[in-house]
């Protein structure tokens, strides 16, 4: 098993105050910049076979017959189908509806049916073409409207995977009273499409049978224990016979949260049947076509507002497309619903959210997990309110943004660390938003006048500029009682050499888990971060500290590790009789302890915070321990001849409680923002008969370095008393603001409000022509 050893020669922490808050060199970056880091496809194992997946080419049907072409030489080809599954044919997650391999029914295009493996990758590729599957076609359900009409039933008798209601006050009555002097009714419908996570490393797994009759599965993944649980079910194996270990992972963003259970199960099944190690590495075409995507959404918002912009009532109706199986839709819906009213005060809020089934590949986790979708709607709606009331969008945010003591739609009192106004004002100041709103408005009028008189810019273009704004928030950790249910466990022990070693299932997927854990534990133990080892997230070696998702890694798991470290420090200090002043000192004390007691291990299980309470039935209470806040401005230049939007600048302030490592935290913000910008302008999943049409990188467009401008990021630290060193969550928050800020900027530049993303040039040009005609 590849082990991560600390490389550092440092004997003392980065600064007299420790290394938290200092941007030390990322601990595993050396291997990454030299090409030495081993990703799954870099691994070669003797006797290894290459595995491939035979998939449905139709969206819905019944499998009638499977024929392996007798003219093909099947020697050496392992073939596995659902009958070969030793345990239950299910990918265990929330519900048990998704099979590991389709048995009789096909519920979506690219659904896996058969698995093939051979020593030669070229041979198994040919074998794929020698499989014929006869399918009786059934009518697919390809839109959420069709799903709700329920003429074809895909799930129970409504096609609704989950419905959630959140109510505070009495929105219905308030909206009926619209028309009362000084109030206005504002309505809008907002849409977001699918988005592919597009980690640059495709999904990849390597599975082998172990001598004790079990399985060892290694791969590119975010949550080793999710895969572990799924394999136990599919193979009928006890926990100790299944071992899942993470290899260096080239990006996840949620796309490797639950999907690895599927590909891991497939590699394992081929290894089970063939008795040989089996590697499955998707190529890009397969990965885009077959794996999970961001849930598309449509959200209708009706609001009653005061003339000064105050929100009096909100009625929000959310529809999400879950695809063919439940997977994580209930949880995505939950987070989306809870965030749907944005970081604003509104006494009367009614939220209804539904996730429905369609005959498309199941959607799943993608950074933000429902909150980008619903906050896109709310932020666009706040702009609509501003337009209707002839106020600046900033005014409407200032009027309604929450402060300490305000109450959310679920009835949660925001008791501390509420940075909404802080991030808003800092972003506005840094970006010169107010001056630019005025200036661009004037320049655009002047440009239009000049063009009518036959004068254009130096390149003969017709362009307009604008600046837009968004304000968002994001709860850290699992929703409601989720963390309690997870009951995560994290530990620290001492290696034989006398070094502290972190034992957790939290994976390094680029975001900096390894480094910030080492910094936090190092500070808690009084040693340099480089001195702390971080064990590979391998279920054979680490406890289940929960999945690497939900912006919980630093705040929740990091918090548990800091507690464990403090306990270890107390134990070791008591034994040693003194503190240590550097790493060698710690090492000496630790080795003495081991010599006397054999082992030293401090473990912490997640404990519910006494001040938090949540009711899953009524959806009321404290949804998260704390929220992080962000504001973002985006400046654009729109070319009226082509509908293209050029990003001129992005400015943002993010309140994350505490930046454990400022460079890594800023890196998370910058990366998330660019994913949000891509979602806003470029990323569009196109469908043909329920299949992804643009499943190549030439056709699924993500931003290049030329597509995005300099990013100006300010970190605001309003500490959370329950977060390690004051830290809250940062991983997903950056995804929430950019898209509505872009739409807002385009509206400012052109006068056109496009209520959906991506704002493709085709859409913008069409809307512009229609507006010009009218």
């Amino acid at each position: 098993m590849p082990r991560v050893r600390s490389t550092g020669r440092a004997t003392k922490p980065a600064s007299p105050d420790g290394s938290v808050g200092v941007s030390i060199p990322k601990l595993e970056a050396h291997e990454k910049v030299t090409g030495a880091a081993l990703y799954l496809d870099d691994l070669r194992v003797p006797g290894m076979l290459h595995g491939r997946t035979v998939r449905s080419t139709v969206a819905r049907g019944r499998i009638r017959k499977i024929t392996l072409d007798p003219a093909f030489d099947w020697t050496g080809v392992t073939v596995a189908d659902h009958k070969d599954i030793p345990g239950d044919n299910v990918v265990a997650l929330i519900e048990e509806d998704q099979p590991l391999l389709a048995a009789h029914e096909i519920r979506h295009a690219e659904e896996p049916i058969l698995l093939l493996a051979h020593e030669s990758a070229e041979r198994v590729e040919k074998a794929l073409r020698a499989v014929r599957i006869e399918v009786e076609l059934l009518e697919p359900v390809l839109t959420v409207e069709q799903a709700l009409a329920a003429k074809q039933l895909l799930y129970k008798d409504t096609n609704i995977f989950k419905e959630i209601r959140i109510d505070r006050g009495d929105a219905a009555s308030a909206l009926r009273s619209a028309g009362v002097a000084g109030t206005a009714l504002v309505e809008g419908t907002y849409r977001t499409g699918h988005q592919e996570q597009l980690y640059i490393e495709n999904n990849a797994m390597l599975a082998e049978r172990t001598e004790d009759g079990g399985l060892l599965v290694r791969g590119s993944l975010q949550c080793p224990y999710y895969v572990h649980k799924a394999l136990m079910r599919a193979f009928g194996l006890p926990a100790e016979k299944v071992r899942v270990a993470q290899t260096v992972t080239g990006g996840g963003f949620g796309g490797k949260e639950e999907y690895p259970s599927m590909i891991g199960g497939h590699a394992a099944l081929l290894a089970w049947k063939s008795g040989k190690p089996v590697k499955i590495v998707y190529d890009r075409l397969e990965d885009i076509a077959a794996t999970t995507k961001r849930h598309p959404s449509q959200t209708r918002i009706r609001s009653l507002v005061d003339r000064d912009g105050s929100l009096l009532a909100l009625d929000i109706d959310i529809l999400m497309d879950g695809g063919a199986y439940v997977t994580l839709s209930p949880v995505v819906l939950s987070r989306g619903a809870i965030h749907a009213a944005g970081p604003y005060r509104c006494a009367n809020t009614s939220i209804r959210a539904r996730a429905v089934a369609t005959s498309t590949p199941p959607n799943g986790a993608f950074r933000g997990f429902g909150a980008p979708q619903t906050q896109f709607a709310m932020e666009c709606h706040m702009d609509r309110i501003a337009r209707q009331l002839k106020l600046d969008p900033l005014e409407v945010r200032r009027k309604n943004a929450v402060r300490e003591g305000d109450v959310t739609p679920t009835g949660q009192v925001l008791t501390e660390s509420v940075g909404a106004h802080e991030v808003l004002e800092r972003t506005v100041r840094r970006s010169h938003y107010e001056a630019k709103r005025k200036r661009y408005a004037q320049e655009n009028v002047a440009a239009a006048r000049a063009e009518r008189a036959g004068r254009f810019d130096g390149r003969g273009r017709r362009v307009r500029r604008g600046i837009g704004l968004a304000l968002v928030y994001h709860g850290a950790g699992f929703t409601g009682g989720g963390e309690v249910k997870l009951a995560s466990l994290a530990a620290i022990d001492i290696t034989p050499r006398g070094r502290p070693r972190i034992l957790s299932a939290s994976t390094e997927i680029g975001q900096g888990t390894r480094t910030i854990f080492a910094q936090m534990v190092g500070d808690a133990l009084g040693v340099p971060a480089e001195f702390v080892e971080v064990e590979t997230p391998d279920t054979g070696l680490v406890p289940d500290s929960g999945p690497t998702v939900a912006s919980r890694t630093c705040m929740v798991v990091g918090g548990m590790l800091v507690d464990a470290a403090r306990e270890m420090r107390a134990e070791l200090t008591a034994f040693h009789g003194a503190e240590w002043s550097d790493a060698p000192g710690f090492e000496r004390a630790a080795r003495r302890y081991l010599a006397e007691h054999g082992a030293l291990r401090a473990e912490k299980r997640y404990r519910r915070l006494a001040e938090l309470s949540w009711d899953d039935d009524t959806y009321r209470g404290d949804a998260y321990g704390v929220f992080s806040y962000a504001a973002c401005t985006v400046e654009v230049e729109v070319d009226l001849d082509t509908g293209e939007t050029t990003l001129l600048s992005v400015t943002t302030a993010h309140d994350i409680g505490k930046a454990i490592h400022p460079v890594l935290a800023t890196g998370q913000i910058e990366g998330g923002i660019v994913q949000g910008l891509g979602w806003a302008l470029l990323e569009d999943v196109r469908w043909k008969d329920g299949r992804v049409w643009n499943h190549q990188l030439t056709n699924y467009i993500i931003p290049t370095a030329v597509d995005v401008p300099t990013l100006d990021v300010e970190i605001v630290e309003i500490p959370y008393s329950r977060g390690p060193f004051g830290a809250k969550g940062v991983g997903e928050l950056p995804m929430d603001a950019p898209a509505p800020a872009v739409v807002s900027a385009i509206a400012h530049a052109t006068g056109i409000q496009i209520d959906e993303v991506p704002v493709l040039p085709e859409k913008l040009l069409r809307a512009h022509s229609q507006a010009s005609v009218g």
């Binding site: 190529d283 003969g460 196109r686 030439t698 056709n699 467009i701 290049t704 030329v706 085709e762 069409r766």
Partner: protein
């Protein structure tokens, strides 16, 4: 389904004559597919859309490289890369539209390997350099085992991805005649993003006004607007000998509708293309009108 690369053969000629022998249908029942930079061919092989057992490697042939003057024209060897086009000072001065096209073909990695003949032979209607070659009245030099001939680039495509090359012929060079002096050169590609993208609409224009301000010479060349890259002749006709005023521009734009036949495809739709094509024409004419 990826092609089985392990089963493919490739001939490695040391001279052009040897290469021509490899593609000669009289010498081989399965003539070899020529490969230079491979930036299109390997994409097809990866996607499994090219079934060809035999290739011939042109990349290293010295006879196909180099940019030199040939009489009054500039002759680009067939395997001149987009990077070489970008970096050639004479090209930048005389044929800016082609140089700009070369800079937008893809990222650096693609530009270092993509060749001018490859762009022509791939015959995608979206090929970025092709409208520029049309605007500059490029001439293709072709050779076979039996001799050579000259083909004007404007009649190089007989239909969608159908080259006017006879079996056994290879493109060996592309000649660029001297362009008109005092002309406005224009190139614009509207792609799926700002870099590394396939074009939705690509346009190259050349226009010269006489001393009276009348259009003396004009070339309007489009890609991604028809099954082949082409010159918008009706629009050119509407401009010739006219002053560049609003009525002329409107007539040219209306005439454009007769020249172009955009489609809906994976990247864009016909209405968008139609609008943008007309808008780019107008942008070009605005610039041309400013030049005295």
């Amino acid at each position: 389904m990826r092609a089985a690369l392990g089963e493919l053969a490739i001939a490695r000629p040391k001279t052009l004559a040897e290469a021509l022998a490899e593609v000669d249908p009289k010498a081989h029942s399965t003539p070899a597919v020529p490969i230079a930079g491979g930036t299109d061919l390997y994409v097809y092989l990866n996607a499994g859309t090219l079934e060809a057992p035999r290739f011939v490697d042109l990349w290293g042939l010295r006879e196909l490289r180099g940019i030199r003057e040939s009489g009054e024209a500039l002759r680009l060897g067939a395997t001149t890369t987009m990077s070489q086009i970008r970096e050639h000072p004479l090209l930048a001065r005389r044929y800016p539209a082609l140089v700009q096209a070369a800079a937008e073909v893809g990222g650096r990695q693609i530009q270092n390997r993509a060749t001018i003949a490859g762009n022509i032979a791939n015959a995608s209607p979206a090929g970025d350099s092709l409208p520029a070659l049309l605007a500059y009245d490029a001439i293709v030099q072709a050779k076979s085992a039996r001799g050579g001939r000259t083909l004007p680039f404007e009649s190089f495509y007989q239909g969608y991805r159908k080259l006017a090359l006879a079996p056994g012929e290879l493109i060996v060079a592309v000649d660029l005649p001297p362009p008109a002096a005092r002309a406005t050169h224009f190139f614009r590609k509207v792609g799926t993003r700002r870099a590394q993208s396939i074009s939705k609409v690509v346009f190259a224009g050349l226009l010269r006004l006489d001393r009276a301000g009348l259009v003396e010479q004009v070339r309007l060349a489009y890609g991604s607007m028809a099954p082949v890259p082409l010159r918008a002749r009706a629009a050119e006709e509407a401009l010739l000998d006219e002053k560049l005023n609003a009525p002329t521009v409107a007539r040219a734009r209306a005439a454009l509708e007769r020249d172009l036949s955009p489609i809906d495809d994976i990247r864009s739709d016909r209405e968008y293309r139609r609008q943008v094509a007309g808008n780019l024409l107008e942008q070009f004419l605005r610039l041309a009108a400013k030049r005295k």
